[in-house]
């Protein structure tokens, strides 16, 4: 009796008990499906974040307050507020290093903004006049505020397209006045729609001059973040070193170990994000794997019951010449086939769900890639076969050790 015949026989057996076979498989189907979804959706989410970050351009340098490890997250990610970085620092960098061609600091806050009776919850961002240049963002209507308006702490605002829609509907927002934190701002421009990108709706924010935001809205004198644009991606590393030297001098710091700021390039940022999302992904896969183990135990249980139920069949097979190894083979093939078919179904379902998630995300305007991770599929195949072997061997040996006389008498 060869393997192919055995597989063929078991296939028929599974086909005759479709409902039970399916229920037996269910644990594996769900387990493999979860692993595939986690890996595929995880890869999609990762692509989304990376797409968003890299869309800002590879020739951007970020300056953050507080020292942080190159690979780790910045201190601000843990909610620590560091006040050492000032707007002047950034202007100085722009002045000192000719490779920096544009720069802006950032401060942010949220408020319910009102125009007459219309209200909307939004984010106000204090930035320098260079922002459109740094972020490659264009103004749709009106204009962005000028350097003088920034320095003069003028109460002018440039609103995102979403804000324009929410507050003004079809009316022209230009020249209107809105209230942010009880301060009246006049609208001088509307940003072009930038699409929802990442976890932040880029269109639901209001840009105001940095100094205005610091003094009138937030009452602070520091900035939480800065971006500088380098003329050429090849100069990024040199400019980062240069920025470090200049800032150390300004902050009277002797050794880089004592820095109260950090300078990052987009590449480093991507690296850190990839590491964090990878870790998250593996954690989720580990959680999903628990479903596989539960499924495996379920199959072992059902196969043990099947051995019991088929005691007479096993006795008969032995009586007509089956060796113990034939019986082991038969039951093992059955278990592996159930888990393998379950694995294939799980892969197909997982891919379909991931595709659906990607389509929905794309439909919502996210730059979400549909990724079918080939390693995940191969892993799914091997793991499902492996689970069949591991959890099938006990019932199979159990079956082969039955005494044929006892087995034939079994009612």
């Amino acid at each position: 009796m060869n393997l192919l015949e055995n597989i063929h026989g078991v296939w028929n057996l599974i086909g005759r008990n479709k409902m039970r076979s399916f229920l037996t498989m269910l644990g594996i189907i769900i387990g493999i499906m979860s692993v595939i979804i986690v890996m595929s959706v995880g890869a999609g989410a990762q692509s989304l974040i990376i797409n968003q970050v890299s869309s800002l351009g590879s020739n951007l340098v970020g300056v953050l307050p507080g020292k942080s490890d190159e690979k780790g997250p910045p201190a601000s990610a843990f909610g620590v507020v560091i006040t050492s970085l000032k707007s002047d620092d950034i202007q100085e960098l722009l002045k000192e290093d000719p490779h920096f061609i544009a720069a802006t600091g950032y401060v942010k806050g949220t408020d319910t903004v009102a125009w007459g009776d219309q209200k909307t919850d939004t984010t106000f961002v204090g930035v320098n006049a260079d922002l459109p240049n740094v972020e490659d963002a264009a103004v749709e209507k009106g204009r962005f505020f000028s350097d003088d308006e920034d320095k003069g702490s003028d109460k002018v605002a440039v609103i995102g397209s979403q804000v324009a829609k929410d507050l003004f509907g079809d009316q022209d927002p230009l020249g209107q006045t809105i209230k942010i934190k009880k301060t009246t701002f006049s609208i001088i421009g509307v940003m072009k729609m930038r699409g929802t990108s990442g976890f932040q709706n880029q269109d639901n924010q209001i840009f105001v001059p940095l100094s205005t935001a610091q003094k009138l809205l937030l009452g602070i004198d520091y900035i939480s973040f800065a971006r500088l644009k380098v003329d050429n991606a090849a100069n990024v590393n040199d400019s980062m070193d240069q920025a470090g030297t200049i800032l150390r001098e300004r902050h009277k710091i002797d050794r880089p170990e004592d820095d109260d700021f950090s300078v990052r390039s987009m590449a480093q940022g991507l690296d850190a994000i990839t590491k964090i999302t990878d870790a998250l992904k593996f954690f989720l896969v580990a959680v999903a794997s628990i479903a596989l183990i539960v499924g495996g135990v379920g199959i072992m249980n059902i196969m043990l019951a099947a051995v019991q139920e088929r005691t007479r069949e096993i006795g008969l097979r032995k009586a007509v010449g089956a060796k113990n190894s034939h019986i082991v083979q038969q039951f093992l093939i059955e278990t592996v086939m159930i888990t393998f078919i379950g694995g294939l179904l799980g892969i197909i379902l997982g891919v379909l769900v991931s595709y659906f998630v990607a389509k929905v995300a794309q439909g919502m305007g996210y730059s979400w890639d549909f990724v079918v991770p080939i390693p995940a599929i191969l892993l799914g195949c091997f793991v499902s076969i492996g689970i069949g072997l591991i959890f099938g061997i006990t019932p199979a040996r159990h079956a082969s050790k039955l005494d044929p006389i006892e087995a034939l008498r079994y009612e």
Binding site: G321, A322, L408
Partner: protein
């Protein structure tokens, strides 16, 4: 030519923890090729154990068992399995056909374990079913067959490997008298064609269809004689070729 079966001082006892239960004592007999022997005795007499030993399903405790001249008392499990597949055919009281499996596949089962190629398997199983008058039932499942038909299918399965001996353990026990007669008629026909048949039964009436009766009681052979007035099953011959 050596006898098909020869037992020399065969004893069997079961050990259950420290309790020893003797089942068979000092059996000595021979069965030659072409015989039709009934092993007869009341339940608990040891006749079933004797059949299991003769059919390599159980091992003896002491003595010698020669099958076609070969000492089988020392064989390993796998060798015994092979012997069962090649030299023995079993017919059981409870039929033991695999459910949800066609009659043809059921009959092909012993051939699978003796590595007969698939085409040959189908051919031989079809022939075997033909010889028990079931050629019109090849694709039926056991659930669709009457008791008599099931037992005839089981006989076809016992026959398909062209075994040296066919063991029939109470083959008519679960059948009405008419179907029982058909089964006995087939067994007699097979014997006529040269098959050696060993029938295990507790009924004198059934045993009288054989040519020779071994009476077993309390694990011993109490008589071994030829059947004087042999019954020949004649009924329903149109069902059997």
């Amino acid at each position: 030519m050596p006898p098909i079966i020869e037992l020399q001082n065969v004893s069997k006892e079961y050990h259950n923890e420290d309790v020893v239960t003797p089942v068979l004592h000092n059996l000595n007999f021979k069965i030659e090729k072409g015989e039709f022997v009934a092993i007869m005795g009341p339940s608990g007499s040891g006749k079933s154990t004797l059949m299991h030993i003769l059919g390599f399903l159980d091992k003896i405790t002491s003595g010698k068992y020669f099958f076609e001249g070969r000492d089988v008392s020392t064989l390993e499990d796998d060798e015994l399995a092979q012997m069962r597949g090649n030299s023995i055919g079993f017919v059981f009281q409870a039929f033991h056909l695999l459910p949800r499996t066609t009659i043809l596949e059921n009959v092909m089962l012993p051939l699978i374990y003796t590595n007969v190629p698939e085409k040959e398997r189908i051919k031989r199983a079809t022939e075997a079913l033909d010889s028990v008058g079931l050629s019109h039932r090849l694709q039926f499942s056991p659930g669709q067959l009457s008791g008599g038909e099931k037992q005839r299918a089981a006989i076809a399965r016992a026959l398909v490997n062209n075994p040296s001996v066919i063991f029939a353990d109470e083959p008519t026990g679960n059948l009405d008298s008419k179907s029982g007669l058909q089964v006995m008629k087939i067994l007699q026909k097979l014997n006529l064609e040269g098959h050696t048949i060993i029938l295990v039964t507790h009924e004198k009436y059934t045993a009288d269809h054989a040519k020779r009766i071994l009476r077993v009681s309390d694990g011993e052979i109490i008589s071994d004689e030829q059947v004087k007035v042999r019954l020949i099953a004649k009924d329903a011959e149109d069902l059997v070729k």
